[in-house]
């Protein structure tokens, strides 16, 4: 996995950037929906399964590599989303209240 990180830095950075944008854009004062609702649950389950498959090296050859890349890109995207939302919250909280 470390080799993958070293081999795909630009691509992972791009995933992180997309995550930042999406996290910023979707951050709002609206009440947060319960996290078990919607796609996030199934996405988390699929990610965990993917990790297990990758760890057990069940997919051969290129499929194995592509799975690892998919897991890394997904992870960087999610991290980007959280960081994007957090940045927006921080920056909006510091703005002075308009007159």
């Amino acid at each position: 996995m470390l080799y993958d990180l070293m081999s795909y830095p630009v691509w992972l950075a791009a995933a992180l950037a997309i995550g930042l944008v999406i996290g910023w854009q979707t951050y709002s004062d609206a009440p947060q929906r319960y996290w078990r609702d919607g796609w996030i649950l199934w996405g988390a389950v699929a990610f965990v399964i993917g990790v297990i498959v990758a760890a057990l090296k069940l997919l051969p050859g290129r499929y194995g590599l592509w799975l690892e890349v998919a897991l890394l890109i997904s992870a960087f995207y999610i991290v980007g989303c959280f960081v994007g939302g957090w940045l927006k919250n921080a920056m909006i909280a510091r703005e002075p209240v308009g007159r």
């Binding site: 997309i18 995550g19 996290w35 996030i40």
Partner: protein, 582 residues
């Protein structure tokens, strides 16, 4: 508040990013990992030089050859430890033993081609290096395959074979297990001898399977044989071992009892045609010579030497022309044959054999013999040969009167040396004949062995047989004297000796030696002359040892002619000596 439920909107670009990343980076990642795996293999060339790594994703596959059990496992585990490699799969082919184990280094055109099997990459590398060292400018083509089962000392065997083959033109060598083969053409006798010797002392463990080493090509191609009468020496070149042996066997057969020294060497470049038949022809002629040599240079045969009476230059030339096969050519034939001649008296005839310079000389000698040998039948078997010693005929004719005195015997000539053997009629005649032969010799000729004995005492003749025997002899010739004297001519001594033989046999007979003359001169002188001549004959008979008490002499002068005195022929008949038994 974070809104994870809305983050799905980023999945589409993320998916696109993933597809794009895979499309752009997969092959380069695979190439990088294959390179890393190959680097691991390279660090162990002794076992992994024939292994190759490929990558699919982050999985590496090892393919190639495994020279020993466990090599694949070891290398697989080593590659598995390389950074980035996820899985390693090795599918190596185990190198199998070759039965039989073959290896060959063959020179073809400008290439030195290595074929067959080699046990390991390391040895292969050494073999290639050795081949390059021995290639002499030719390019080395490695068509070897790996196999185990090489004979012990494979490297040293290859080094030895490459070294030996490099000495030969087109030199090649090979092994089948421990059977060693070598072929090629030697550039010189030294190289050929060394190469042949090398095949007889191969390195330990090798056996010679085949050696096809061609001898050097030599121009001009010369073959010789020489004979000194005691031994024959074969020298020069022969095209093959078999032909050399055949020539030596032929020499042994033709020169039976004589030593055969075989110094022939093998070489290529000989003339086309049947070399064995040509040399057999040459040796056959050489065997006829007393001594000599024969040389065949590029198919042209020459013979020189000394022949014999029957082996002359012409005889040898004709014989070699008849027997020499095409396309061989007859060169110089220079056979020196002794100028032989023989005259043999015996059995009531005289036989002439050998040579005379020409037909006229043949007739001359036959006529001289006829006159000297009291008209005995002459068998003239002389052949013409022009290279007679000077005055050969004169020299022979001068000896005939003395030879004619022999009861039997012969004269043989070997160029200018005359050998005489025979039996005289009585002891004193033997001594006289020896002396006369010496005196009669023509300048330039000499006597060799002269052996003259005496015939045993002849049987006694009855008295009544004596007169016919004496008359018979006198009918063949006449007793001659020097003109007007009582000195016996040399030509008459043969007749006289034969008359003496009859007189000795006629022990009981009283014999009168009667002298007669023609009518020339005065009767008194003629009477005296006839008396003296009759006495001279009687005296000659007495000197031979015959008891002369029963022999008388009488001179009748011209009183008892037997023919007319008017003609020369008649007068010649009247001048005579008669033997009259009383």
């Amino acid at each position: 508040m974070h809104q994870p439920g809305k983050w799905w909107v980023g999945l589409l670009p993320i998916a696109a990013l993933w597809v794009l990343a895979n499309g752009v980076r997969t092959e380069s990642v695979e190439a990088d990992l294959a390179s890393r795996a190959q680097a691991v293999l390279t660090e162990a060339p002794e076992i992994a030089s024939e292994m190759k790594a490929t990558a699919l994703g982050r999985d590496v596959r090892l393919e190639g050859l495994e020279f020993a059990d466990g090599d694949g496992t070891r290398m697989g585990q080593a590659v598995d430890r390389a950074n980035g490699v996820r899985l390693v799969d090795w599918r190596l082919q185990r190198v199998l033993p070759a039965r039989p184990f073959e290896f060959a280094a063959t020179r073809v055109g400008d290439e030195l081609r290595l074929t067959g099997s080699v046990p390991t990459p390391a040895i292969r590398g050494k073999v290639r290096a050795m081949a390059k060292d021995n290639a002499a400018g030719k390019s080395v083509v490695d068509a070897l395959a790996y196999a185990t089962g090489a004979p012990n000392g494979f490297e040293s065997i290859v080094a030895y074979g490459l070294g030996e083959a490099a000495k030969l033109d087109g030199g090649s060598f090979g092994i089948v297990d421990t059977g060693y083969s070598i072929s090629g053409a030697a550039g010189s006798f030294e190289i050929y001898d060394a190469a042949i010797a090398a095949t007889r002392s191969l390195p330990a463990g090798l056996q010679l399977a085949r050696a096809e080493i061609l001898p050097p090509e030599i121009k001009p191609y010369r073959w010789d044989a020489s004979s000194d009468g005691k031994s024959v020496t074969l020298q020069g070149l022969a095209p093959s071992d078999a032909i050399r042996a055949e020539i030596a066997a032929t020499a042994t057969r033709l020169f039976a009892g004589r030593q055969v020294v075989n110094r022939m060497r093998l070489a290529r470049g000989g003339p086309t045609g049947d070399f064995v038949r040509a040399t057999t022809s040459a040796l056959t002629e050489l065997a006829k010579l007393a001594d000599g040599e024969t040389t065949m240079t590029d198919g042209e045969l020459s013979i020189r030497g000394h022949g014999s009476a029957s082996v002359t230059n012409d005889v040898v030339t004709a014989s070699v022309r008849a027997s020499l096969p095409e396309p061989f050519k007859v060169g110089v034939i220079d056979v020196i044959a002794p100028y032989a001649f023989k005259i043999a008296k015996g059995g009531g005839r005289v036989v002439l054999t050998g040579f005379a310079p020409n037909d006229a000389a043949r007739s001359d000698l036959a006529n001289a013999a006829k006159a000297a040998f009291l008209g005995e039948p002459i068998e003239n078997e002389l052949a013409s040969r022009s290279d007679a010693p000077a005055r050969f005929v004169d020299a022979l004719k001068a000896l005939f009167p003395s030879l004619a005195r022999l009861a039997s015997g012969s004269l043989t000539s070997d160029d200018t040396v005359f050998n005489v053997e025979g039996l005289a009629i009585y002891e004193k005649a033997a001594d006289q004949i020896k002396l006369e032969l010496g005196r009669a010799l023509v300048r330039g000729f000499k006597l060799g062995v002269v052996t003259i004995g005496v015939i045993p005492p002849p049987p006694v003749l009855e008295v009544n047989q004596c007169q016919p025997a004496l008359d018979g002899l006198l009918a063949k010739g006449r007793i001659l004297f020097e003109t007007g004297s009582a000195n016996l001519s040399k030509e008459s001594l043969a007749l006289l000796d034969h008359l003496i033989e009859v007189v000795r046999r006629c022990r009981e007979a009283s014999i009168e030696v009667a002298g007669h003359t023609d009518s020339q001169g005065t009767p008194e002188n003629n009477l005296d002359l006839s008396q003296r001549r009759a006495e001279a004959v009687t005296s000659y008979i007495g000197e031979s040892g015959v008891d002369t008490t029963r022999i008388s002499s009488a001179g009748y002068g011209e009183t008892k002619p037997v023919a007319s005195n008017d003609t020369p022929e008649g007068r010649a008949q009247n001048r005579r000596i008669e033997f009259v038994v009383k």
